[in-house]
């Protein structure tokens, strides 16, 4: 009995050791980014102690009138919020239809979803730009959000998640008199909680960090999103690494916070207890 316990203790210690080593390894780039954002340009390539660290790089973002960080932050929040809201409605609906309903044309739609992921966005950027411009949506939050209210990647992902939801749920709901649509919104949607959280986390970081689209569709500094605005801070002929890194830290922290809060929402094995009840 004792031996088993010690073994278990050792295994746990081993687990922790592995986790800590891996954790440090994965945190390394961000730690280095943080470090570079705290030093001057002359110290960026080597280690200096905390006495030489400075917040000047951050100060510049908040003191220079050219950098409207609060406005950029608000633009980013608005953009990300609208995109996630759209994704939370449109993607699960399509994913559910592809996973659990049987109808003519489904295979076509499935392959449309998959094929769409394969085209590099740069290829269609110009026609999309022209579309946005014709609608008068340049320098507007609509141009940054409406085309991205769905993501075929997440439709595909949710389809794969929904496949493993037992069919009994939907049948049970239909016996209770719900329509298929009702069964989806009332039963499947709440049950798919952890996959929807995953999608939200991924969509959040993808949208928050996006650069190509916002930098192409906005040219008015008051309409910039955070990543574009922070990137406009640079010197003419070279990269001011500490300043760029400070921008990276500022842009990344909200995603980190979002992730840390939402990963707690994973609750194991909800799906099964429902069947019996």
């Amino acid at each position: 009995m004792r031996a088993v316990k010690t073994n278990k203790g050792l295994a746990t210690a081993g687990n922790y050791a592995l986790l800590i080593v891996l954790g440090l390894l994965f945190a390394l780039p961000f730690l280095y980014t943080l470090y570079s954002s705290l030093v001057t340009m002359q110290d960026v390539n080597h280690w200096v102690g905390p006495s030489k660290w400075t917040l000047d790089n951050y100060n510049l973002f908040f003191t220079n009138e050219a950098y409207n960080v609060p406005q950029w932050l608000w633009n980013t929040v608005l953009m990300t919020g609208i995109v996630i809201a759209g994704n939370l409605v449109i993607n699960p609906m399509a994913g559910f239809a592809l996973a659990k309903l049987d109808f003519a044309g489904k295979r076509w739609i499935y392959w449309i979803v998959v094929a769409t992921m394969m085209v590099p966005y740069q290829m269609i950027l110009i026609p999309v730009y022209v579309n946005v411009a014709k609608l008068g949506w340049l320098n507007s939050v609509w141009g940054l959000t409406i085309p991205f209210l769905y993501q075929s990647l997440y439709i595909f992902m949710l389809r794969q998640f929904f496949i493993s939801i037992p069919g009994e749920f939907i049948e049970a709901a239909r016996l209770d008199g719900l329509t298929k649509m009702g069964a989806f919104w009332r039963i499947v949607y709440p049950l798919a909680r952890s996959s929807l959280i995953t999608m939200s986390i991924l969509a959040f970081s993808g949208t928050w960090n996006s650069y190509l689209i916002p930098s192409t569709f906005t040219s008015d500094p008051s309409k910039y999103v955070l990543v574009v605005g922070l990137n406009s801070v640079k010197d003419m002929f070279f990269e001011n690494t500490p300043l760029i890194m400070a921008g990276v830290v500022l842009a990344t922290l909200p995603i980190l916070a979002f992730f840390f809060i939402f990963q707690k929402q994973y609750i194991e094995g909800v799906s099964s207890s429902g069947v019996k009840g």
Partner: protein, 295 residues
């Protein structure tokens, strides 16, 4: 009867797909068609209105270009290495942080950091680490690698990109697996425990089959993203030519970017993407046949 029709799979299915299809048609398919038409044109960015139809000339030229095959080969190499590693490592990490341990939230966050940190920042760090004479290159020296700056060596640069790519993408696999693990019905494990199945057996006979649809998703997405890898390569070649050093990191997407965007020959670039599209489509189709037996 009427209600029945309205609640049929056909009506509900199309209704549920309609918002997606409408947005897709206008914001993806129509622009894509325009670009597709360009692939049959001699179309220069500078003067799009002067574009001329030239039939299949672009395709013929690409298929005679050695650089294109080299790029395809590089893309395949990336996918062949990155996809299995990323999938297995992601699963392993998901299992590690799915346990009931203290601080799992912190570890989950740490593992996810590279995925959300900007590629420029991660690349900068990797470039510092894989320089000649650092502990990293010396460590790899134990396995017979030469102690050189990896991204400046035509033999190692592609491997450098692959490692960098896996490092950034593995957080994605982890989190998708993590939520996949939540969906494994718990009573299956309970039943397994009653039957006295070992943990390994439970993993083999309960976890793995339940995760099959998710594994198919991760493998196909990793394949597609592996083919589309661009940011990391642009970051290591930002002071030189794309695909630096000497084209050792050229891929299908850098080939498109270089010809279509940089040299402004958008017709030629579009044709490259169409070819590239056909290649991944075939691979994804095979993967579906092999891995996904449902739906």
């Amino acid at each position: 009867m009427f209600r029945k029709a309205r609640d049929s799979d056909f009506v509900v299915g199309w209704l549920f797909c309609l918002p997606f299809l409408a947005l897709w048609a206008w914001w993806f398919f129509y622009p894509f068609l325009q670009s597709f038409v360009r692939s049959f044109q001699d179309a220069n960015f500078a003067q799009l209105d002067a574009a001329k139809f030239i039939g299949l000339d672009n395709y013929v030229t690409i298929l005679q270009d050695k650089a294109f095959y080299r790029a395809v080969l590089h893309s395949l190499e990336i996918v062949v290495i990155a996809v299995p590693v990323q999938t297995l490592l992601g699963l392993l990490m998901a299992i590690l942080v799915n346990r009931k341990i203290k601080g799992k939230g912190l570890f989950r966050t740490l593992f996810f950091i590279p995925y959300i940190t900007s590629t420029i920042a991660v690349t900068t760090v990797f470039m510092m680490l894989f320089k000649q004479g650092t502990f990293v290159t010396e460590f790899f020296g134990l396995f017979g690698f030469r102690n050189v700056t990896w991204f400046a060596d035509t033999h190692y640069a592609l491997l450098f990109v692959v490692i960098l790519f896996i490092f950034q993408q593995v957080g994605f696999s982890m989190i998708v697996y993590l939520s996949g693990l939540q969906e494994v019905p718990r009573d299956l494990y309970e039943a397994g425990q009653i039957d006295g199945a070992s943990r390994l057996a439970q993993f083999r006979y309960i976890t793995v089959p339940s995760l099959k649809p998710i594994t198919f998703f991760i493998v196909s997405v990793a394949t597609i993203l592996g083919f589309q890898i661009y940011d990391q390569i642009a970051a290591i070649s930002r002071y030189g030519a794309l695909g630096s050093p000497a084209g050792a990191t050229s891929t299908v997407v850098t080939y498109f970017y270089q010809n279509g965007i940089r040299y402004m020959n958008i017709g030629y670039g579009s044709a490259a993407v169409v070819l590239f599209f056909i290649i991944i489509m075939i691979i994804t189709f095979l993967q579906k046949k092999l891995l996904d037996d449902k739906g």
